[in-house]
Symmetry: C2
Subunit: 361 residues, 2 copies
């Protein structure tokens, strides 16, 4: 191609081999080559020609330009996936599930780490749409989310995962957060705990809201007083530590149900700071069963939500939508999976003298 080659050492295909080149080599028209190379249209081409074309393609090292194909067909086979924080271990298995489900149908995930700021999130979503993703999977959704509004308004297929909205404007796949907290509370109750506190997640996220509601309902059903609740500012260890410290300081609880494993780990830290030990002084239940929480000290009792399945189902739902004829899209589907209790070392019966409410300096 260029004359910048120092010598006539022509190695590798200097010219881009496109469909035209393959067609030429096989002495057919571009369109015939296109049909022969596409499994869906291959039957329209004579078997003998298909063989010739495939041979030519292999010989030339042809690789289809999905970009050009997408421009023509209007479909990119790309799904935009938005997560708030890729380092939060809960999202890795969700991504894993999404990816495998998408891959089965020839789709790929365009993963965007969008952060927690709604404005930035919106910008990231716009970018994804500009890249003409065929749909979105949102693990970022707030209880009332501007991205969801945009998707609905502009008719962009999207599915929520892990977090849902208050209103069901889009399909969603979430764990039964309400039920999860019931499991946690009843487990603690059955161990003998009566004064149980809750470190709640952010009030603008469905997980925060519903788990708190589940906690309150379960407590009331058991006839327990529900007052020991402190809300953490974010699903992070630091926020959990602060909230737990406040909780332990203000209420004489013997157990804590946290809205999330990271918050539970934060509670561990808070307890260490107060000289309390788990589960001797206070039992703790997390939520999500994140990777590695079985290895912490003590191993965390938690609510398992199978995030892999969550991701897979969300992807499947979105692919259903994309494959549905107009008017038949599954816009109202709200999938809810059942969580299970995983008992480990962070919960135990309360000791006879309840944990003291304050410590002398």
């Amino acid at each position: 191609m260029t004359s910048t080659e120092p010598m006539g050492m022509e190695l590798g295909p200097r010219v881009r081999v496109d469909l035209q080149a393959v067609a030429d080599a096989a002495s057919v028209h571009r369109s015939t080559a296109s049909r022969a190379l596409n499994p869906a249209t291959r039957h329209l081409v004579a078997a003998e020609a298909v063989a010739r074309i495939e041979e030519a393609a292999r010989a030339l090292g042809y690789r289809r330009d999905d970009l050009a194909a997408s421009l023509r067909t209007g479909r990119t086979n790309l799904i935009g996936v938005m997560v708030p924080d890729i380092i939060n271990p809960i999202f890795a298995p969700i991504l894993q599930g999404v990816e495998t489900a998408l891959a089965r149908q020839g789709y790929s995930a365009l993963v965007a780490n969008a952060g927690n700021d709604p404005a930035r999130q919106l910008g990231v979503a716009e970018q994804l749409i500009g890249r003409r993703v065929d749909g979105l999977i949102l693990a970022t959704s707030a209880e009332d989310d501007p991205i969801v509004a945009m998707c609905v308004q502009q008719d962009i297929p999207a599915v929520l995962v892990n977090r849902a909205e208050r209103a069901a404007r889009l399909p969603s796949v979430v764990s039964d957060d309400f039920e999860g907290m019931r499991l946690a509370v009843e487990h603690l109750f059955s161990l003998g705990h009566r004064r149980i506190g809750h470190v709640a997640g952010p009030a603008h996220l469905s997980t925060g809201v519903r788990r708190r509601a589940g906690f309150e309902a379960a407590m009331r059903t058991l006839g327990l007083e529900v007052d020991a609740i402190v809300t953490a500012g974010a699903y992070q260890r630091g926020a959990g530590a602060m909230a737990a410290a406040e909780l332990l300081d203000s209420f004489a609880v013997t157990a804590i149900a946290a809205s999330n494993d990271l918050l539970a780990l934060g509670a561990y830290r808070a307890m260490a700071g107060l000289g309390l030990s788990c589960p001797q002084d206070v039992s703790i239940v997390g939520h999500n069963d994140m990777p590695l929480v079985d290895m912490v000290a003590p191993p965390l009792t938690t609510i398992r939500i199978d995030p892999l399945a969550l991701g897979e189902k969300a992807a499947a739902l979105l692919l259903d939508w994309l494959g549905s004829p107009p008017g038949m899209e599954p816009r109202a589907v709200q999938l809810v999976t059942k969580p299970t209790l995983v008992v480990r070392g962070s919960t135990a019966p309360p000791f006879s003298p309840p944990a003291p409410r304050s410590w002398p300096g």
Copy 2:
């Protein structure tokens, strides 16, 4: 000229608004609109026209089709990122670093979870290239990797991260694995350990090979016998547990330096199985300082490698490459970052008497 819809609040963009529509609305040619909307060519258009075109674009809700632009320009602003296992917590911060560095320059990451099977990995790489990514970042590379061969042969810009090849066919960004093991071994030595074992990583991965080499060199330098080495089949907890069990069974070591945090956690499990406790009976050092290893029991002493910086540097290197004039590409750059030792609770002097439980305070 199309009849302009006089009613201003015509809801729902029934027709796709493309550049032509904007151009029509602003009474200019497509090409002018294109130039006006592109910051790099905006100066070629009269300021007054730019204003008119931008106004029209906003009014119509125009959003550029990056796909079409990419087809024409030959650049997608997409970087393919391959990881072997997205659930392995070491990759999350690497991805984070890659993403932020890419985002700064308007690029996005197309993350592919490629697994550990070389054949599948190759297929995934082909897919990414078929989507016309501008370059690849490989966190999957083996010591002699077929994907690297393909990239070199087909002249596809690619950078290795975390794992490098034996031969330096492509730029890479890795932690100094050799040095990391030296830190680990010297730390154990300074505590008084003399019989130190190594749970090695897979021999086909650079991290496995170089950390093992670092271990052996450090041991020799200290005049210690280097025979207690068992290789794990994969960087997974189960494999680490098996390897550690064999190691503890065959050698009277008082300390283990593991090639990786997951292997170290596997060693915890093996020790529990053998009724040994850490660090009283055996000290353990991990490698990587994965998220959460500060919370396990006991908190893991490990080698920190700052994976975020690794990711950022890899992305920066690739972007440099993409921005370089032909012939000036940084093909030979091998960046090596210095790891640091993080001392926690899993290491102590050998044969220490059972320490009284004294919590930090």
